[in-house]
């Protein structure tokens, strides 16, 4: 979908968004569809990364969009609309998780000491995985599985900073944590993902990802 890829936050797009938001506030409610169209997939991705369940993520994405519409007057132009929308989505997803998943045990990595040093265990030469391999569903699947296996505090930070491209400060604000915590968790998340996906690794991480037997999806 070309419009979903080009309508990112360049100045032209932002000008366009300002106009749209003003007109929506002035009563042209149906323009809201235009406003959110470029972000539908990102909103779902943010919800899914937190909830790890498609049905919940879809419902949360819908709720977040509705909330954005209801509170459109509270949007302040100093932040990007996309950032604001993702923040709403994160809040919605976290609320739902608290409600419905209170008794789910988080993965072991969550209990790791955040302050302790993380030592990489695998130093296999990382053959670069070209971006083109993302055309393959099984590659995207492996990446999604690796991400889902991280503890939530690492997952959230990684999703906001590295997938949604929020800044460190915006990520900190969205999650209600300090910028220093964002950086610490980001380091952990990135190193863990590297290790989960590092080719040539025969450890237990890779068998959890069913990458065993030396068969790599790339």
């Amino acid at each position: 979908m070309p419009e979903e890829r080009t309508a990112l936050e360049g100045p032209a797009a932002q000008f366009n968004e300002e106009v749209l938001i003003r007109r929506i506030r002035d009563g042209e409610r149906e323009l809201f569809y235009e406003l959110i169209r470029p972000y539908e997939r990102r909103v779902f991705a943010a919800a899914f990364a937190i909830l790890r369940n498609e049905a919940d993520a879809e419902d949360t994405a819908q709720e977040a969009m509705l909330k954005a519409f209801k509170h459109i007057r509270q949007f302040r132009a100093e932040s990007r609309f996309s950032t604001w929308l993702i923040q709403i989505t994160v809040n919605e997803a976290r609320m739902r998780r608290r409600k419905e998943h209170a008794n789910i045990i988080e993965p072991i990595v969550d209990r790791q000491d955040e302050e302790g040093n993380y030592t990489p265990r695998d130093f296999a030469d990382w053959r670069e995985i070209p971006l083109e391999t993302l055309e393959r569903k099984e590659v995207r699947q492996k990446l999604a599985e690796a991400l889902a296996s991280l503890g939530e505090k690492y997952r959230e930070v990684f999703v906001l900073r590295d997938m949604q491209q929020l800044s460190i400060e915006e990520t900190a604000k969205a999650l209600g944590i300090s910028a220093a915590s964002v950086k610490t968790r980001l380091l952990r998340a990135r190193l863990m993902l590297r290790e989960l996906l590092a080719p040539g690794l025969g450890g237990n991480w890779s068998s959890r990802l069913s990458l065993a037997k030396g068969v790599k999806p790339w």
Binding site: E3, E4, R5, L8, E9, G10, P11, A12, A13, N16, V19, L20, R23, E28, R29, E30, L31, F32, Y33, E34, E40, R41, F44, A45, E54, E58, Q62, M65, L66, F69, R80, N117, Y118, T119, P120, F123, A124, D125, W126, E128, I129, L131, L134, R140, L143, A144, L147, F158, D162, M163, Q165, S167, I168, K183, L187, R190, L191, L193, R194, A198
Partner: protein
């Protein structure tokens, strides 16, 4: 200044964010030249960021958009919508989309982008000096950690880079993309 492998691992993420001071940065680069293990960690971490940062990672279930719009329609737009109302909305949408296209194309024309996942580059100052790798797809601020092939770099004006189809790096060019 000399850094150990442990220090490199602790800072590799900040290094990729461009958030380490010049002294540490130089020390880390020196370390990478002599340490295969840390280079493997650096390359892998950078690749992780690039892979997950790709738009193709945003997948939605079949029918997602349709169901979303149905839900919005139930809540946002008054249920009874006149034909005139539809026409006005459609015309407005066309106007908005058209205006956007004009605004984009009037600033720079993109010949053929080397990557289809480029962000709009119209906020980048055309005279800004940037670096491109011959086989690369993106242009960067000199020294950006996301420059891959450091051996074959050229420094050119952003205008030329865009004319040659390079797209701005979403990392080091961020401030211009969100201007």
């Amino acid at each position: 200044m000399v850094v150990t492998c442990e220090e490199v691992w602790r800072e590799v993420s900040n290094y990729l964010e461009g958030e380490v001071d010049p002294t540490l940065r130089a020390a880390m680069e020196e370390h990478f030249r002599g340490c295969k293990r840390c280079t493997a960690v650096l390359d892998g971490t950078r690749n992780v960021i690039q892979l997950y940062g790709d738009e193709r990672m945003f997948e939605v279930p079949l029918g997602f958009s349709h169901r979303l719009h149905r839900r919005l329609e139930e809540n946002i737009v008054p249920a009874r919508r006149t034909f005139l109302g539809w026409m006005v909305a459609a015309a407005a949408a066309v106007l908005v989309a058209g205006g956007f296209e004009v605004a984009r194309s009037s600033v720079f024309s993109h010949p053929e982008l080397r990557t289809e996942h480029a962000e709009s580059s119209s906020g980048v100052p055309p005279d800004l000096m940037v670096v491109v790798a011959t086989d690369g797809k993106t242009f960067h601020i000199p020294g950006c950690p996301f420059i891959h092939d450091k051996a074959r770099l050229r420094t050119i004006a952003a205008r030329e880079a865009m004319q040659e189809g390079y797209a701005p790096c979403v990392r080091c060019m961020r401030k211009y993309l969100n201007a």
